[in-house]
Subunit: 419 residues, 2 copies
Amino acid sequence: MGTLLIRNVQLDGRTTDIFVEGNRIARIGRTEGATADRVIDGTGKAVIPGLVNMHTHSAMTLLRSCYEDVPLKAWLDRVWAVEARLDEDAVYWGAKLAILEMLKTGTTCFLDMYWMTPAIARAAEEMGIRAFISYNFLDNFDHDKAEKQYAECEAVYAQSRQWPSRLQFCVAVHADYTTSEATMLRAGMFARDHDLVFTAHLAETLSETQEDVIQMSLTPAQHFNRLGLLGPQTVLAHGLWLDDHDVELLGGTGTTVVHNINSNLKLASGYRFKYNELRDAGANVCIGTDGAASSNNLDIRESMKTMALLQKAWREDPSAMPLDELMDVATVNAARALGIDAGRVAEGALADLVLVDTCSEAFVPSANFIGNLILSANSSCFDTVIVDGRVVMEGRRVPGEREILEKAEETARRINKEQ
Amino acid sequence: MGTLLIRNVQLDGRTTDIFVEGNRIARIGRTEGATADRVIDGTGKAVIPGLVNMHTHSAMTLLRSCYEDVPLKAWLDRVWAVEARLDEDAVYWGAKLAILEMLKTGTTCFLDMYWMTPAIARAAEEMGIRAFISYNFLDNFDHDKAEKQYAECEAVYAQSRQWPSRLQFCVAVHADYTTSEATMLRAGMFARDHDLVFTAHLAETLSETQEDVIQMSLTPAQHFNRLGLLGPQTVLAHGLWLDDHDVELLGGTGTTVVHNINSNLKLASGYRFKYNELRDAGANVCIGTDGAASSNNLDIRESMKTMALLQKAWREDPSAMPLDELMDVATVNAARALGIDAGRVAEGALADLVLVDTCSEAFVPSANFIGNLILSANSSCFDTVIVDGRVVMEGRRVPGEREILEKAEETARRINKEQ
């Protein structure tokens, strides 16, 4: 079992050492004379738990900034046209680019909803990140398509038993306006039977929410509830358009709701995310970037800043969304949703750690480290990333990054050109 | 007259060379065999005009993240208590820290509203940035204070004749709710008589706006107009709470309005900035960060992203605030307000240039450079900064930066401690 020692690092304002054994934090405290297979000098750096991106579509990095400043309908048409041309190779390089970006911005774990699950798993396995990779149901109310997808889901799940432990299979339903109730139920049952995380989009736009009410006299949250799909292993992305009863349902079932503020702003979906209400009702609130086609990047730290600013602004309360809760949203809340002991720098927890270089103008004055990290710095402050006890970025270098940039660029040209 | 040659740099998607003579761009185009006093290799980089921060309080960097998540009243009380302890030395180091931060984030010019103008001018002179530094009137309706300030303003203006040409003196009035009409008029007259930029805060909060209406039956914009203070040399910060008539007044007079979105969100001042309306009415819209006490950093690129996102969101239109207009807001519009030929990469213009390192995941795919720069990258992409023909940052290194961090940290501890 490999060992790793981080010396002289700042943790909660004190200098300490962190000793990692295998994939867990074994000891925190001064370790005079101790040695390890690998030693990292933490001088001038602070350690934080790795950030978790709880909603993204990894390979959409290939569509980054290809269509800007266009109305939503035109944007979706273009995105779907390009996505129809994706193949395994494209998804693989798109996912590699996404993971590179996430590591560089301090993310150690992500929950993905995209196509061609095995290609994404291969990218994540190679790059050392922790990942929850879903098989994504979207049947367009077509029974044959649903059958095909169900068979595929079972096959990929069987394959996933060979994945390393830091990769976990999960089940996604795109949304209730694209997928039949029968498929939603079957997907949910599959997740429950195999003890897997279940994820879906929920109430991202006002129009989809109103459509549900018109057609079923149910809001999307009520619809998911009626199908028995809410609960502590359910992760719902967006949840922008919720009424009081929806908040109660999500809270009462301990469901996770993932806020994707940058994407919501850019696509003009809404911004009055009910953080306080969901938290108080008992829901587990996390944060995600959404795909790079809408959010442009996969930078969770940047999204945390935007989330804080928007909560303060729309609630007209500068004390809304305090920094300590914001850190929880991006770390421990995510770990809770995913059922892993991560998101904290503590003995026994998984060693998913990030070292922050504090020797820059963004961290002066130094009085408030978390304030500086989230509100003042940019994500080039992340120097070293450790996932599952293994160093995957050091001195901002990720092995193979040049090849990833080249291949992703080539791939993006190929899939964007043919239209 | 010194010369500078930037070789093999990307400009609007083509590779070219840029030849700088003295403080101006002399020639753009391939320069086989040409030489210069200094040659920079632009391979893998793109050139943009330097960004302009049109509203800040530079030395407030010393108050960065010292008070977070508190209601506005408590925040202001704390900020004012610390500001009362500022001395020349503190303002000097706070301004150095601010300028370091601005250079690192691609800003080549700023308009400052703060105290102890000479200390700020000294910092700006040493660091090579272009700066418009105002003497700031705030008399609290106290006649003696006003007299003292007027004498001081005249003295600093006289001194400013010795400043290098890239530093310019201007006149500020803090706001109409802190300063008497007599002083506002006198300050405005001083600016006009000496052909100086005039700047002030305007309609930042709803309460100050309502207060004006209650007390004078005038909105703040109408108040400034009645005093004859609107016009092309007037730069008003915030302008968040404007009615249709205000927009007409600001537009009709060609006044500049500076949007400070991050600060406005954080202090919950508002976010429905009327960009389209002001632009259409003929006002000149620019962007600023405000002071680091409220915005946490002085990163104009980051503010540009937030501005785009918020315009799309509150207008419920994903095509609002297109990227090309956003670049103008941060460059040529600012140059117009300040009366300088900058904000564009063109022969004859001032050589205020920034080289962007595009060899990173943020710029892949490469199809949309400006989209990637503003929406995907963080400001560590700024590699080289040239102001007035002189290289002031290269390879992200600014001379003397370590000393600035140390002295600013010391100074912040000193002024924050004594409360």
